[in-house]
């Protein structure tokens, strides 16, 4: 089989696997990270629902989650992954450690975005009689939307990198192709093509994220 044939045989499928892993795990990370990020924001001192103990506990959890190198986290989570997915190999199994790695990172980014919302704007919403839920839904999230989208984009790009690492230990996707064919079998062509595909994927994700964020900002500067 020629290199080109081999590439055609392997890469489209594994590219799809990478995209699947990245987007599904970022989606789950968002489901965990959003409430976590909101709690980290409003429970901090001086915000609308100060709860120092809760804030410090959550901060500790997030920091622990973020300080694990991904390779170690993946191995450490193997029993947990088996419990949930039934196996620790393959793309679906990789989604578990990818989600756990991305969630605290995304939670921190969401916290930063929400804390950037002007405090005086929150004060104005409070004086109009808003409750905390309304402040989160009608003020914090809409006001921070462009910045939240950039945070999600950044997480997606990071998860692309992690997913390649997952491939090294049988997680599937482009990372697995790179290690099996490019590294173990010294196939430079496959290695280079894989890297180029990853670069293109990251570029596309970043450009799309930027474009969405920019279009929201632009809409807020023009009449609707």
């Amino acid at each position: 089989m020629s290199n080109v044939d081999l590439a055609w045989h392997l890469l489209p499928f594994q590219l799809w696997n990478t995209i699947y892993m990245v987007f599904v795990s970022t989606f789950f990370a968002f489901l965990i990270g959003l409430p976590l990020g909101i709690l980290l924001t409003i429970s901090d001192k001086g915000h609308i629902h100060p709860r120092p103990k809760l804030y410090h506990t959550l901060t500790l959890i997030v920091n622990i989650g973020r300080s694990f190198p991904f390779a170690i986290l993946m191995v450490a989570l193997i029993p947990f992954t088996r419990l949930i997915v039934g196996t620790s190999l393959g793309t679906t199994a990789s989604i578990v450690p990818l989600t756990i790695a991305a969630a605290p990172f995304l939670a921190r980014l969401i916290e930063n975005s929400l804390k950037d919302v002007d405090r005086q704007m929150i004060e104005a919403a409070l004086v109009m009689g808003s409750n905390n839920m309304q402040i989160v839904r009608k003020v914090l999230l809409p006001e921070a939307l462009p910045s939240l989208i950039l945070g999600i984009t950044l997480t997606l790009v990071n998860v692309v990198g992690y997913s390649a690492m997952a491939g090294l230990v049988g997680g599937g996707g482009l990372g697995q192709v790179a290690i099996q064919y490019g590294y173990n079998r010294f196939n430079t062509f496959i290695m280079v093509t894989t890297v180029i595909l990853l670069i293109i994927l990251v570029q596309l994700i970043q450009m799309t994220g930027n474009a969405i964020a920019r279009s929201i900002i632009k809409r807020r500067r023009t009449s609707s």
């Binding site: 704007m121 004060e123 009689g129 009608k138 809409p142 939307l145 807020r220 023009t222 009449s223």
Partner: protein, 339 residues
């Protein structure tokens, strides 16, 4: 009779290294329905803390804020939010939501209060007409000028038909023309709806143009309060005098240096018609003194006009004495600035 809004012995302090740092100390105020009550002070005087206490955004350390007999500092949860839905507030930096259009910003408090979509729409359009911004209905705040943003802010504050409107330095970020527009609008709204207005400012001009009552705040304490007319005519506290002088020229310091016994600096205040009477020339003719007008201006208040003249009086000491006696008999208020 139950007072509309009464503040009793209100204090707010912050603890720092076991010491209490007072932002406000022993504030007493009585605000009647329909007042436009101005609170003036330099930055750091505590006026921002005071308006936030009155608007229930802060809790007092001591004292009471009674709104129609109810202590609002005791309110929590739903009853606090219900009270807040009954007040309106506008801000120095407008604080509009950038994610919403002018129309949607005005709808916000009505969403919070649980009004139906039809009611919100009807009221928002009506308010946009009131503040003369119907053509900017779908504009986002970032596209509006400062004056326009504040008009949206006013419309938003009025959306729930509040009984009190709080104005937090509402014109401080605006140019003179927009300032005039906004003050006229506030005055207009006051006349039409009889809403009680409480405002804080560092500009005497704002007090002069729209307030009927005023309190002067300095270092967390009220140093003088009363009807605006009385305060302009006969200010007692040095800080008040300083505020009245601000915006006008200062007297050059050399006039204070070389004051021989035959010289006096006077500040004269005239009310209403007497501002036009030729008092100076009478004095010159009858008592053989000379007058030198250093400064003069006229303040047009809501109800009356007050003229201020700063003059130098020269002549023999005994002539000056009789001239001063003459002034006392006239309908004029004067004060010896120096010596």
């Amino acid at each position: 009779m139950e007072k509309f809004l009464e503040v009793r012995d209100l204090s707010k302090y912050y603890e720092q290294d076991d010491r209490k740092i007072y932002a406000l100390k022993d504030i007493n105020l009585s605000i009647e329905k329909g007042d436009i009550y101005g609170i003036i002070g330099e930055s750091g005087a505590g006026k921002s803390t005071l308006i936030r206490l009155l608007a229930s955004l802060l809790k007092p350390s001591n004292g009471h804020i009674l709104f129609q007999g109810i202590d609002i500092s005791m309110l929590e949860g739903i009853s606090l939010r219900e009270f807040r839905q009954n007040i309106g507030m506008i801000f120095q930096h407008f604080n509009l939501l950038t994610s919403r259009t002018a129309f949607e910003n005005i709808s916000y408090p009505m969403e919070i209060a649980g009004l139906s979509k039809e009611e919100r729409e009807k009221k928002a359009l009506e308010l946009l007409r009131l503040v003369n911004l119907s053509d900017k209905k779908d504009a986002h705040p970032l596209q509006l000028s400062g004056g326009e943003k504040q008009r949206v802010g006013i419309a938003r504050a009025l959306a729930t038909n509040p009984e009190i409107l709080f104005c937090d330095e509402a014109t401080s970020a605006l140019d003179p023309r927009s300032t005039k527009e906004i003050l006229d609008l506030i005055k207009n709204i006051h006349q039409r709806f009889g809403i009680t207005i409480i405002l804080i400012t560092h500009e005497m001009d704002v007090i002069k143009r729209i307030c009927n009552k005023v309190a002067v705040l300095e270092k967390g304490k009220i140093v003088e309060q009363g009807a605006v007319e009385d305060l302009f005519f006969d200010p007692k506290h040095p800080t008040t005098k300083q505020f009245l002088q601000s915006g006008h020229h200062e007297i050059p310091s050399e006039f204070f240096k070389d004051l021989s016994p035959g010289k006096k600096l006077l500040r004269l205040r005239f009310k209403g018609k007497s501002a036009g009477e030729p008092l100076m020339s009478q004095m010159v003719k009858r008592f053989d003194v000379e007058t030198n007008i250093l400064l003069g201006w006229i303040d047009k208040l809501r109800t009356i006009t007050i003229g201020t003249l700063i003059i130098e009086l020269r002549g023999l000491p005994e002539n000056i004495k009789t001239a001063l006696k003459f002034l006392k008999e006239q309908d004029v208020h004067f004060e010896e600035i120096a010596p």
